[in-house]
């Protein structure tokens, strides 16, 4: 230890970094303030849907990642400030401390300060979530924290290496960026090229995990989310992947170690000299020239390149390339000398046209047939039966369960193999992808290995597969499961405590239902869009109510978010909800309906005013009057001017205004009233009021007959659009 650690030097470096360490930690901690405030606001408002969502890995990582980047850079630059000036460098090198001791003691001092910042932030952050009982995945957060600690090692390693091999701040900075980002950037761009070359075919980022998966070496891939976007959701950054953490740690340690070697060899007299290594200067220069050329290659692959774009991109790439050399060396002579080496940039960029094709070709040679396949797992889906994503792209609890189920059904395997073969032949023939649905599957092979592939299935294959899976008991059970364990609940309009109480009732009711009803309660809310023809707004089980119980939680480090419909299948929950809402909104809602009725009665010509009334789950009726003309208001739903309205509309409003609040789901009609502005009365409501009205069978049937949804004066409204929920 003494060979690489000097207690005195360490404590001196720790002292030197004290001010920055404390300031950086305070700044990071202060970002918790935002979390706490938004948590409090959401807590207070009781309507923030996002408050019910457990923060994902990227959201949790963002502030820490920024801290790791910035403080890693600042700490290291400050600690090695002396490396860039001859007099300073001489002073430190005269000290009775070996270079190794200096390097590793400095490294440790920086890492400890960064760890203090990250740990303090993490503790406070966790406490905020704990104190406010906000949805949080502590295991995921811990994984993110570990990732960020590894990231801190990596950033400090990269910047230290950069400082050791270069002698000016300008080159230090560029060298740091190049070391930290360029390798992973080049690999990620390669994966984008692969995806572009073979969309929804065989290639899958997940199948090249070590080199292309942004989960590996997370700190160097904040653009992981871009990869996620480009891969159309087929890929998500995983912060809890142990092999990825180990890989990141190995890479980080390697950087630190390389920095140590470079520092050990570094001569004091190199201070102030951009870099002694011509190779390194070439690498940095090339890295600076590359991005625009890669963009050009991307345009070429997508057949979007034009001559102007090509000339523009090459020209600017060349200018950046030369400018770097000129600024870093301050020598026009060296810049001119470096110009021919620009072709290295061009050469590397051209490789991006070739290598993805070779990789896809190589990938397509892997045989998948019934004899070689033990089974498969569906990891990600495009649409349909499998597709169950909750808020913010979180998986549902069911989908988390499902992706762990190995499908061994012979027929399903046959479909998979057939689709795979067709995908291979599409690649070989270079033919168009055609239409269909894709799945990301992990295929278990008989030789003990597994491969991950994106496979495009034809529509009939996909449907058959869906039906087969529906018949699979494990799959079916996973599809109707209510998440166990600690959960967070959210119901629109209810406080957290009310939602929790309602959830307890709901969970009991849900457990007592038969599987078909359970599936209905879940699939109703699984993202399926109902058309007007398929939903009757007066039908209790479907269109009359649109409330859901949202359940968030986690399975290990994975978050889930799932919605369960509250309707007549769960009458106790429904009644509980109606009672709470009516108690809260009843008076206000009825008052608003009265005002609307009065507005009709006075002719509705009172200047700028705007109302709308929702009936059940699927209808919106706007009432508005504006000085700017009938059609000046643009909206998605039906619109109605009171004075021009069908008299039956007035009848409907009158019936609603005269109705009482309901305490029975069987006769309750969900009505949402919203007055955005009423000029004459000078009132404005900040939020909509949902109320449940008791209507006699006669009134209910009368309103149904009025069918205001269909019979509003379309010709007068002008731009009627189907009142379909969007």
């Amino acid at each position: 230890m003494n060979k690489i650690f000097h207690k005195g030097y360490f404590s001196e470096m720790f002292r030197q970094l004290k001010v920055i360490g404390i300031v950086a930690a305070i700044i990071l901690m202060a970002s918790n303030f935002t979390t706490a405030v938004s948590a409090l606001m959401s807590f207070a408002s009781e309507t923030g849907v996002l408050a019910n969502r457990i923060p994902g890995g990227f959201e949790l990582a963002m502030p820490m990642m920024m801290y790791v980047y910035l403080s890693g850079l600042v700490f290291t630059f400050v600690a090695y400030n002396w490396l860039n000036r001859r007099a300073y460098s001489d002073f430190y090198h005269a000290l009775p401390v070996t270079r190794k001791q200096m390097y590793y003691s400095t490294f440790l001092a920086i890492i400890i300060w960064m760890a203090i910042g990250l740990t303090a932030y993490s503790i406070v952050h966790s406490l905020i979530y704990l104190i406010f009982d906000l949805p949080f995945n502590y295991l995921l957060f811990f994984c993110v924290y570990v990732n960020m600690l590894i990231g801190a090692i990596e950033v400090v390693g990269a910047v230290s290496l950069a400082c050791a091999i270069s002698g000016t701040r300008f080159v230090n900075l560029f060298a740091s960026i190049v070391i930290l980002f360029v390798p992973r950037f080049l690999l990620s761009v390669m994966s984008v090229f692969i995806e572009t070359d073979a969309p929804y075919m065989l290639s899958s980022i997940a199948s090249y995990s070590l080199f292309f998966d942004p989960s590996y070496n997370i700190i160097a891939t904040p653009y992981g989310s871009i990869v996620q976007m480009i891969s159309n959701g087929a890929y998500t950054v995983n912060y809890a992947k142990i092999p990825a953490m180990i890989w990141s740690l190995c890479w980080s340690v390697l950087l630190v170690f390389l920095g140590g070697i470079a520092f050990n060899k570094r001569a004091s007299e190199t201070a102030g000299i951009p870099t002694k290594s011509k190779l390194f200067q070439t690498v940095v220069r090339t890295a600076i020239g590359l991005p625009l050329l890669l963009l050009l290659m991307y345009l070429i692959v997508n057949e979007e390149a034009t001559l102007v774009a090509g000339v523009f991109l090459v020209l600017f790439s060349f200018i950046f390339y030369c400018l770097y050399e000129l600024i870093s060396t301050k020598s026009p002579k060296k810049m001119v000398k470096a110009m021919p080496l620009y072709f290295v940039c061009v050469g590397i960029a051209l490789l991006y046209l070739v290598i993805p094709k070779l990789i896809i070709k190589a990938e397509s040679t892997v045989k998948v047939d019934e004899n070689r396949t033990k089974g498969f797992y569906v990891l990600k889906t495009e649409n349909g039966f499998f597709s169950e994503f909750g808020l913010g792209g979180d998986q549902t609890y069911s989908s988390i369960k499902k992706e762990k189920i190995r499908i061994t059904d012979d027929k399903a395997i046959e479909i998979l193999c057939k689709a795979y073969d067709r995908n291979v032949s599409m690649i070989n023939k270079n033919s168009d992808t055609g239409s269909g649905m894709w799945l990301t599957v992990k295929i278990d092979r008989t030789n003990g290995t597994d491969i991950v592939r994106n496979i495009l299935f034809s529509e009939s294959e996909y449907n058959t597969l869906s039906q087969l899976l529906e018949k699979n008991e494990d799959y079916y059970k996973a599809g109707i499961a209510f998440p166990p364990g600690h959960k967070y609940f959210f119901v629109n309009g209810l406080t957290r405590q009310e939602a929790r109480k309602l959830a307890a009732v709901y969970e009991e009711e849900f457990a007592s239902l038969d599987d078909a009803k359970k599936l209905m309660l879940k699939s109703n809310m699984s993202g399926y869009i109902f058309g007007i023809d398929s939903v009757d707004p007066f039908e209790v089980s479907t269109g009359r109510f649109n409330m859901t119980l949202q359940v968030s939680g986690c399975v290990g480090a994975k978050n889930f978010n799932e919605s369960f419909a509250i309707n007549n299948f769960t009458p106790k929950s429904l009644k509980m909800y109606i009672d709470i809402i009516n108690q809260r909104n009843g008076d206000e809602g009825l008052k608003m309906l009265d005002e609307l009725k009065a507005w009709f009665e006075t002719g509705g010509d009172n200047g700028s005013s705007e109302y709308y009334v929702d009936i059940g789950n699927v209808t919106n009726v706007y009432f508005y009057d504006t000085n700017y003309g009938v059609n000046s208001f643009s909206g998605n739903n039906s619109k109605l001017l009171p004075k021009d309205a069908d008299p039956e509309v007035y009848e409907m409003i009158k019936m609603l205004a005269n109705a009482e609040l309901s305490d029975d789901p069987e006769n309750a009609l969900q009505v949402t009233v919203y007055v955005s502005w009423h000029k004459e009365k000078n009132i404005s409501y900040s939020s909509e009021k949902v109320i449940y009205l008791k209507l006699s069978d006669e009134d209910l049937s009368r309103i149904r007959d009025l069918d205001v949804l269909r019979r509003v004066n379309f010709d007068k409204v002008g731009d009627y659009t189907d009142p379909v929920l969007d």
Binding site: H6, V97, T98, S268
Partner: protein
């Protein structure tokens, strides 16, 4: 003892030290003079382990210095261009030194700050050039190092402070048998400070001697005889210079003073006088004897 053997250091195409050899014994004050670029600072940086030699070696007590904390802990180097932590006070710098140098003494530090009348809590950045050098001297001497290396020691110091530094150096050498290596552009500055002096030129030591010897073994004689005479009359006496104006000859002689006096007196001169030589004159003649034009070697110093 500091030993440099065939020590070579290059900076790209420029050779700062070219196969330099020297030995600096313990317990002495060793002065180095030379013009800019002669290699004085480079030599000190090699001795203090800042630079790695491109050829040859530099050892202290038989051990290589470069990246050797054991040896480096026994030496302290005050460079010509000083470095202090940003906004640091003397006390903060003392903390740095005490963390690194095992022998750093706060008692000594207190004594020295009092002697130099510097406020240990004041920001060094606000100090004058001379005060900064005093601060660096205080810190270096507080390390109680065996080898004290000073580059341009007296640069910026007023005469009072120069004397103070000199006295402190003497004390360290006398009391602790420390070795001080100091460089200067000013021969006069080193004349009354050093025990040994060397002259560096173009990366090599072209002249090195004990100051006492230097001053006693080289002297100027004014002599006159009846009748004509020339330098052949002084055969057996080593003369570095012989200039005759009329009947009076001025001779620079190297050798034992008493023996030479006896020899000349035996020639029955009508005038005989021994005149003292300044160190600068000694250098002029010694260099001349070695075939160097002193003004080329130490141009600035003469000016």
């Amino acid at each position: 003892m500091i030993t440099a053997k065939d020590l070579t250091k290059k900076f790209d195409s420029f050779t700062a030290l070219n196969a330099l050899n020297c030995k600096i014994p313990e317990g002495c004050i060793y002065g180095m003079v030379g013009s800019n670029g002669a290699g004085k600072s480079t030599l000190l940086r090699l001795v203090s382990g800042i630079y790695k030699a491109d050829g040859g070696s530099v050892e202290i007590d038989g051990e290589n210095v470069y990246d050797n904390p054991k040896i480096k802990g026994r030496l302290v180097f005050v460079p010509d261009e000083l470095y202090f932590l940003p906004r640091a006070s003397l006390l903060r710098m003392a903390k740095l030194y005490s963390s690194i140098y095992e022998r750093f003494s706060y008692d000594r530090f207190k004594e020295l700050t009092a002697a130099f009348r510097l406020d240990p809590n004041a920001n060094i950045g606000t100090f004058s050039k001379g005060m900064k050098r005093q601060a660096a001297t205080i810190l270096a001497l507080s390390c109680k190092a065996d080898y004290i290396l000073f580059d341009e020691t007296f640069d910026g110091l007023d005469p009072v402070m120069r004397n103070l530094v000199k006295n402190l150096l003497y004390n360290d050498v006398m009391e602790r048998n420390a070795t001080a290596v100091i460089t200067s552009h000013s021969l006069r500055e080193l004349e009354d400070t050093c025990d040994q002096l060397s002259l560096l030129h173009k990366g090599g030591i072209i002249f090195e001697s004990d100051i006492g010897n230097l001053k006693t073994s080289l002297f100027k004689v004014q002599v006159a005889f009846e009748g004509e005479y020339d330098r052949s009359r002084f055969e057996g006496i080593e003369m570095l210079s012989f200039v005759k104006h009329g009947s009076v000859a001025s001779i620079i002689i190297r050798g034992d003073r008493e023996e030479t006096t006896a020899k000349i007196k035996a020639m029955q001169p009508i005038l005989f006088e021994i005149l003292p030589l300044s160190l600068e004159e000694v250098f002029v003649y010694e260099m001349g004897a070695l075939g160097y034009e002193f003004s080329d070697v130490l141009k600035q110093e003469v000016e």
